[in-house]
Symmetry: C2
DNA sequence: CTGAAAGCGCTAACAG
DNA sequence: CTGTTAGCGCTTTCAG
């Protein structure tokens, strides 16, 4: 009849009427509490089923203050690492009765905070920030709203922000060890976006481990976690006398002074680096240059790349994220009795180096102690 | 004080009190209607801002019947096509003030319906089913709840289900034309999951176009849209005398009787096929075998694959999805005055063949009219 | 164990 | 234009 014909929703009231009980009894039947007699419960459930009744999650959320939704903020899905993480996060939370409200955002500061405000409007029970920076203003607002936040695959100094990452510093170190052990002497690095903790930590672990062995980085480029930038960095490294890198002199005299190994801050860029080396510059990988990535995304195992890389253990990262968030959401005030901001948890999960064909085997050219 | 210390939410009431207006005026200030004087509006907005007030979307949804959430059901994100689509869908809907509630599901029938029920509980305004089948039971329930559904990248016969796909039949035809024109005579096909309309349509267009030219498919394998299965199919094609394919006799006599071109039902599998050919079987692509994919995912353009493929125009597919859903959601009863089920819209968007290096250029071996 | 009643935060008529 | 009054569908005391 009404023009704006909204659609019929079967309410708990309808069921109650038909079942000859009160609406609250219906509510109790579907709410977790077992505070209803077995007989009544069955009768109500039967009738509810017949009528096709299902409780309205939103109404429940309004009154209970729990929406059972988790906001996931994510900046880009190009890098295979994120789809994989999203999938696993989604599955893990779904298994616990939560659902992900996914919000895409560009990495610009303003956009992120705009998006987080909107997320909060939906009364999410928690927020996962995947590779997006959270300003402390923003964290304030989340805290004020009582919404726990965990930063996934990024850490920040902010003491109130929980984070889950892999052991990036250690991982960078493993790569350095490996490249030195396999006889490389001119070791280069292509950085990710310099604002990212993952980038910072991987590079620090890498460079400091080289340093402990008395080595220096041969040269350095910046790829910003973007394929095209990584290609540029690669070209610059091999063509223009280290336009972007250390002043080791350039090499009009040919490949001999070019890097013999490149550690790339993530797999996504490493693919672009390998393609540029092989198909644009005609340089052989791994024979002339070894390439190592970070993440161990599925494509790293594809034969065309067969990329040596450090694995980020997504399963455990997801579990840790789930733990942190659910503890804070469902935690029965066990920790931090008062309203004091509970201490942020920072979880770092170690991941192995996966050696594949983009690097030479350990003894192929063991010039381990050879110096320039 | 309360043990279950729920967190402070600033309500419209709080703002009203502080601003000396009624709660409904606050509501009106934030609701779209301009039914409030400029002065009052500004005053309210100022105070609201100071207090950090934001309307509770859920409460609004309960009373208005509009949640401004769209449920997106998606089965797997391994295939790059989906992350890309999700990202674009998310952006498009966000720009219109809607947000995606993402639900992962395995492809098993039971799981899907379970998930859809949960989606409906959240009072979503619409549902996008990305590559998951919807049983007609399920469609019934959605219809009963007044929730429009659109099937993304799949079509079904069900007349009540709107769908958005690319022109798969035509696309399959383009590939056949191209392979024939570039002189291939032993043309094979590796199928996706046989339950998928995309698979069916691509193959039909391909095979029928070959047929019109008096050609037959040389052999056929099944990859189920899964990399490992595609590899198996490839091995079978080149090793065991067509274990899975047509009975053309096998070829103990070598590569001469093997296919000289393979159309793979999507890019994701095509990568696995190329890897198997090149690195496992030592067969050269495109020199000995041409490979064509479907989708034009980002990796198809990566130099290591450089894959000839049919582009699925995601942008336009997303726009169409948006259109269909928003028409039904916001449509002021313009179409289908009554409560009659509005006719489902089926949109098919044409995509170009992108010729790259996994196939030989047109005139490399132009044996166009050569028959066996 | 169950019903009645009081809200959750908001929108939407309805008067003025 | 604005305040008052009903609800939306549900959870949660509070009596019995």
């Amino acid at each position: 009849m009404s023009l704006t014909s909204r659609h019929f929703q079967i309410t708990a009231n309808d069921v109650a009427e038909r079942a000859g009980v009160s609406q609250s009894t219906v509510s109790r039947t579907f709410g977790s509490g077992a505070l209803v007699s077995a007989r009544t419960r069955e009768k109500v459930q039967k009738i509810a089923m017949e009528m096709g009744y299902r409780p309205n999650s939103l109404a429940r959320a309004v009154v209970s203050g729990k929406s059972r939704m988790i906001g996931l903020v994510v900046a880009y899905l190009q890098n295979q690492f994120y789809p994989e993480a999203v999938e696993k996060l989604s599955n893990a939370f779904q298994a616990r009765g939560y659902h992900l409200l996914v919000f895409m955002t560009s990495k610009t500061e303003g956009d992120v905070s705009h998006v987080v405000e909107e997320i909060l409007d939906y009364q999410v029970d928690g927020i996962i920030a995947a590779s997006v920076a959270m300003s402390s203003d923003l964290l304030q607002r989340c805290a004020a709203a009582g919404v726990p936040v965990v930063s996934f695959n990024r850490s920040q100094d902010d003491a109130s922000l929980s984070s889950v990452t892999s052991a990036n510093y250690a991982g960078g170190g493993k790569v350095a060890e490996f490249l030195m052990q396999t006889g490389h002497t001119r070791i280069a690095y292509i950085a990710g976006w310099e604002g990212a903790s993952t980038q910072r930590d991987r590079e620090a672990g890498f460079v400091e481990t080289l340093g402990k062995a008395g080595r220096k980085l041969w040269c350095r480029g910046v790829g910003n976690f973007v394929m095209e930038d990584a290609k540029q960095a690669t070209r610059a490294m091999f063509a223009n006398g280290f336009a972007n890198g250390f002043a080791n002199g350039g090499f009009a005299n040919g490949i001999e002074q070019a890097p013999d190994a490149i550690f790339v801050a993530n797999d996504h860029m490493a693919f672009a680096v390998m393609d540029t080396l092989r198909f644009e510059l005609g340089i052989k990988v791994p024979e002339q240059v070894a390439v190592v990535g970070y993440d161990d995304v599925p494509a790293a195992a594809w034969a065309a790349y067969n990329l040596t890389t450090v694995r980020q253990p997504t399963n455990r990262m997801v579990m840790a994220t789930l733990d942190i968030l659910l503890d804070r959401i469902e935690g029965d005030g066990i920790e931090g009795e008062g309203t004091h901001a509970p201490h942020a948890r920072r979880v770092e999960i170690d991941g192995p180096l996966i050696v594949r064909g983009s690097t030479r085997p350990k003894n192929a050219k063991d010039t381990k102690h050879e110096r320039l």
